[in-house]
Symmetry: C2
Subunit: 211 residues, 2 copies
DNA sequence: CTTTCGTGGTATTTGCCAGTACCGTCTTGC
DNA sequence: GCAAGACGGTACTGGCAAATACCACGAAAG
């Protein structure tokens, strides 16, 4: 009877939600929760405050919705193979994984989002935990299973796969993440990224001791 | 003539400054700039708002003073030798440096301070840049000169000393820093720290490839 | 045509807090 | 012991923004 109508309404609401989320995302990611007022968001979406309160409850609800939405967007990148591909050197594979990962991470939007998660984690621990579990933790795990496969094949020698996966991830980042978040310098050239990744992978594979 | 007096006054002011800084530090580090009101600080120091405005100008001035003060405190730790000590294996030396560094870094106070620097960097880029230059950057440099010495002696084989110093630092941290800042879990056991450091150093020295 | 619901726009309420002003008190140097 | 400046306490002001209430309009249903 009213199925058509309620569906139509839901569709309309979904569109409205998207518009608000998109506008709010830009502001929240750029300026943060405190520095963004609802009026700024409304100024971009048009419409009225009632939209926000009807759809998201309050400002905090909107913020969480935005951040969880961002989580989904960002994590869709970064592939890590389950096992070694034949015919490709491990070095090349690691470089490929690392470059893809680092290019994804060092986008200004991603870094800003990460920053906002850290800021938000102070007031809203759940959100930070969720973000960590869905972000870095997942990457570590994928890399672990990949490494386990390589170790089983005798292609790598890693006494502790967990430590190794974290180590490689971090040495690929090379502190660029922290630097960006502290200095606000979000621009890194792709050339720099490739250089960084290839050197980190070489060091990871061969170690620092002379042969 | 009034040398005594002015000095006495200065001493008194210095004491007052310290009291305010100490009280403000706890609150700023714990709750952050926005969530800390001057009334909270005054409630701990006793005294009146005039102290703060006379001594620090305004709330922001107080915050910056606190953060710079924290910088000084934290950085007084962490020694890195200029060159290799004879009779001690490189592995032991790196483990010693790494453990000291990581134990220093993973104190709740230090992590919270770092978090606040990141938060503050959004509004006050200068402060973040200063903190980065005085913190991580210094550590990297020290490690670089140390590595350069080891390479010159033929004890290490590092094509890029800068990348290597960043890599070791980051793999020693192993993402624990980021995890703490995102999840709010600031407690890491010293046992875990030693384990983490020793495995990271081994991997750094020998690499992942089988011999 | 009218009622009703969803919605845009705006005014109001409420609370918070930085910054300032004012007054009373206490210390300090003469 | 007495001026003068320093300091504690508190009230006041101004501004901002979240949350709510209220009004106006347009579209769909009866």
């Amino acid at each position: 009877m009213c199925a058509d109508k309620s569906q139509a309404v839901n569709l309309a609401q979904d569109r409205r939600k998207r518009v608000i989320l998109d506008a709010a995302r830009t502001l929240f990611i750029e300026k943060g929760f405190e520095q963004t007022s609802l009026d700024m968001i409304i100024a971009r979406t048009g419409g009225s405050r009632r939209n926000i309160y009807d759809l998201f409850g309050n400002k905090e609800g909107l913020f969480e919705a935005v951040m969880k939405d961002q989580l989904g967007r960002i994590l869709s990148g970064t592939h890590v193979p389950k096992s070694a591909e034949d015919g490709v050197s491990i070095q090349s594979q690691l470089e490929a994984i690392g470059t893809e990962f680092l290019m994804g991470l060092l986008q200004p939007t991603v870094l800003r989002t990460l920053r906002q998660f850290i800021v938000a984690a102070g007031e809203r621990p759940d959100l930070g935990q969720q973000a960590y579990a869905a972000g870095p933790a997942v990457l570590y795990e994928r890399l672990e299973t990949y490494f386990s496969a390589l170790v089983a094949e005798g292609k790598l020698d890693l006494p502790d796969v967990e430590v190794a996966s974290r180590a490689l991830t971090e040495m690929i980042k090379g502190g660029l993440e922290l630097k960006a978040m502290m200095t606000g310098d979000y621009e890194v050239s792709t050339k720099q990224i490739r250089r960084q990744v290839s050197k980190a992978v070489l060091l990871f594979l061969h170690g620092a001791l002379p042969r």
